[in-house]
């Protein structure tokens, strides 16, 4: 994916940068412009934003200037382009102008499909910027970043980095840049620990997993972390309730193949397996107390109590206490 950013020196007159990952798209545009400046250092770069676009403006931008220097027109966000902008693009594609490089960015969705099709038909170069979502993709991204900077990074270090700052690709990229700039030699897990130690991506799900497993300390630490990075207590309570509900359902369903059970209970098979593992240490009365504690917390986080975070903490403590008690 990052390889797609490497553009040969000769830039074609039409380029389509397509895909939802902003950071990669930005980089692609930057490197295109750099390549352009190799052949024509005076190139005039014009950015066109879809918001507030006035019909005909594109025509003005592409018309030859007094000194006849090359032009690069970058159209941002074709996926939210107005009809006027789309029509102007189509008109331009029907009759392109020499000395102009047109770069069109398209995030996702169906909007601007005719422009996309026409671009592809006119044999524009297509640069893909696919969404980086899974941990595996993120690890690949990090590896790519360090390879580009000609630095070595160990596998553990990649893993630790993704876990610490992997939520947002931009954040991940700047963390990579920081490590490249500030350190020397091979980057290993210790180095990552020094820079990003103690930082973990905390979501409601991780909080709930820890709570249901009876790990009070871990659950509270994750909760504090999640709240500090801006996760609202309300969804955390919802996730806690959902997990306990699944435990109760699976616990009452008895033996049987997890796929059959999943169908019967309206859950995914992996959820059934996970609930079965988590059921270790839980008793019926324990679950009952835990569910009631979560219901009380839900009322408190929705305005019934004074301190929403405390309400969740108390629910978590009740859950971890009842775990293993019966």
């Amino acid at each position: 994916m990052t390889e797609s950013v490497d553009v040969p020196s000769r830039v074609p007159p039409l380029v389509l940068v397509s895909g939802p990952e902003d950071l990669l798209a930005e980089r692609a545009v930057d490197s295109l412009l750099q390549d352009l400046r190799v052949s024509s250092p005076e190139v005039d770069v014009i950015d066109v934003e879809p918001a507030g676009y006035e019909a005909g403006a594109l025509g003005v931008h592409v018309s030859p200037s007094l000194f006849g220097e090359d032009k690069a027109v970058v159209v941002h966000g074709l996926h939210e382009a107005t009809d006027a902008l789309q029509q102007d693009l189509l008109d331009y594609l029907a009759d392109p102008v020499e000395h102009v490089t047109l770069v069109v960015l398209h995030g996702s969705g169906n909007r601007g499909k005719r422009v996309l099709d026409t671009l592809k038909k006119s044999r524009a170069r297509v640069i893909d910027c696919p969404a980086v979502k899974s941990d595996r993709d993120k690890a690949d991204f990090v590896t790519g970043e360090f390879r580009r900077a000609r630095r070595k990074i160990t596998q553990d270090a990649v893993q630790a980095l993704v876990e610490a700052v992997g939520k947002d690709l931009r954040e991940l990229a700047s963390a990579c840049t920081q490590l490249v700039d500030d350190t020397t030699g091979t980057i290993d897990a210790d180095v990552v620990e020094r820079y990003h130690g103690g930082k973990v991506e905390a979501t409601g799900f991780r909080v709930a997993d820890a709570a249901v497993a009876g790990e009070a300390g871990e659950a509270l630490r994750l909760l504090r972390h999640a709240v500090a990075v801006g996760v609202d207590p309300v969804p955390i309570v919802a996730v806690l309730a959902g997990q306990l509900r699944q435990l109760a359902k699976v616990g009452g369903a008895g033996r049987g193949r997890s796929t059959d059970l999943a169908r019967e209970l309206g859950m995914a098979p992996w959820q059934v397996d996970k609930a079965r593992r988590a059921l270790n240490g839980w008793s019926g009365p324990g679950l009952a107390t835990a569910i009631q504690a979560v219901a009380a917390a839900d009322e408190e986080v929705k305005g019934g109590g004074r301190d929403p975070v405390y309400a969740v903490e108390r629910a978590i403590l009740t859950i971890t206490r009842t775990h293993g008690s019966g």
């Binding site: 919802a238 309730a241 509900r245 109760a248 359902k249 616990g251 009452g252 369903a253 019926g284 009365p285 679950l287 009952a288 569910i291 009631q292 979560v294 219901a295 009380a296 839900d298 009322e299 929705k302 305005g303 019934g304």
Partner: protein, 394 residues
């Protein structure tokens, strides 16, 4: 419909004329009738309070009809009939499907209240759910309520005086309705809806004299089935898994009821909107201005569905509550009739399995669940927590 309307019959007899559907409310009727007959006993703002199903809006509409009728509420003329069904030119009814009445709606009413009546003696503004006025929308009404245009009358309905803003309450004269007796409701169902006395009796008892609910139970077999299913929950829960399952079932019952009532209505509304906008109903994509209108409609429908689901859950919880009430009656020796006479088996099983203290605890949990759902707690979670307290010993 009965043809034996007695205009201005004595208060101890069955009310007649436009008042014929207002049952078991003799003292309130007395006050209202005097107001119709004597201008000096009339006021510009009235607050009808009474438990749900006691016929607040029926009473308010009948009052509107009596005020507009040239014969003081004959029940036969056009004025009476149109006032009762809310189509009279001088009667404006605000009933809301949403969780609250917004300030925009309230301001609209104030505008209406400023006009003089077009055909009758009074302009009547009827707010059916005054308890759903928010603080802002309630405040928007204050000025118009306090110094109304000479011929404007406000009729507000709410379950209890405490449900409306104190500033609104103090500007209106209160009419208190009481829960009608089971016999009154039975008689109404037999007379008005032509239901056989046995079914009517069952429905009136099971609905605990909630007139609208009783009518639905009497006329709709699936409502009866759902109620029986709800009642049977009381003996079903033996452990935490049962509790979670029972909560899910309660949710499902409420959602089924909601879908049954709302799906057709929503589709019809959408078709009507498309027709009004001149849009093609079968088109795969609609032009942007049509889409915007559809989105707005769907949002309003979703709000309505939310409220409807909550109302249905609340109804089911009251049904469930009645089982525990009956069980307590059985514990106490059964001097008063059971609400769930037809499900005596369930009641007796609960009474045997639980001590009086445990029954009270269960009733308390049902109350907590109702409060929580009202406070926006996820309904399923609130029901689960409640169902756990309803567990019977193995």
């Amino acid at each position: 419909m009965s043809g034996t309307a007695v205009v201005d019959g004595p208060a101890d007899q069955l009310p007649g004329g436009v008042w014929r559907d207002v049952v078991g409310q003799a003292p309130a009727l007395e006050v209202l009738r005097r107001a119709v007959a004597d201008e000096d006993a009339m006021t510009h703002a009235w607050l009808f309070t009474g438990p749900p199903g006691s016929g607040r809006s029926t009473a308010a509409r009948a009052f509107a009809g009596a005020l507009l009728c040239s014969r003081g509420g004959c029940g036969e003329c056009k004025e009476c009939a149109t006032a009762v069904d809310g189509t009279h030119a001088d009667v404006d009814v605000l009933a809301t499907d949403a969780l609250s009445i917004g300030v925009a709606q309230a301001r609209e009413l104030v505008q209406l209240a400023g006009r003089s009546p077009s055909v009758g003696r009074w302009r009547i503004i009827l707010v059916e759910d005054a308890d759903r006025l928010t603080e802002q929308s309630g405040n928007a009404l204050l000025k118009a309520l306090e110094e109304p245009t000479p011929r404007t009358v406000w009729l507000l309905c709410a379950p209890s005086p405490d449900d409306v803003l104190v500033t609104v309450r103090s500007r209106a004269r209160q009419v208190r309705l009481r829960t009608p007796s089971v016999e009154d409701v039975t008689a109404l169902l037999v007379r008005r809806d032509g239901i056989d006395p046995t079914t009517a009796g069952y429905a009136a008892r099971a609905a605990q004299s909630h007139i609208g609910m009783a009518r639905r139970l009497a006329t709709d077999e699936s409502s009866r089935a759902r109620r029986r299913e709800t009642i049977s929950m009381a003996t079903r829960i033996r452990g935490v898994a049962d509790a979670v399952g029972a909560a899910a079932d309660l949710m499902k019952i409420a959602e089924e009821e909601r879908d049954k009532v709302l799906t057709d209505r929503h589709a019809e509304e959408k078709a009507k909107l498309l027709a009004t906008l001149g849009a093609e109903a079968g088109a795969r994509t609609q032009p942007p201005h049509v889409r915007a209108q559809i989105t707005a409609l769907e949002k309003a429908q979703k709000t309505r569905a939310t409220r409807f689901t909550r109302d249905m859950i609340d109804r089911a919880l009251l049904d469930l509550f009645s089982v525990y009430r009956d069980a307590l009656v059985v514990h106490a020796g059964g001097a008063v009739p059971l609400i769930n006479e037809d499900s005596r088996v369930v009641v007796e099983e609960v009474a045997q399995a639980l001590s009086a203290e445990r029954i009270l605890l269960a009733m308390d949990s049902i109350g907590v669940a109702r409060r929580r759902i009202d406070a926006n707690v996820a309904p399923l979670l609130a029901l689960e927590a409640m169902a756990i307290d309803l567990t019977l010993p193995r």
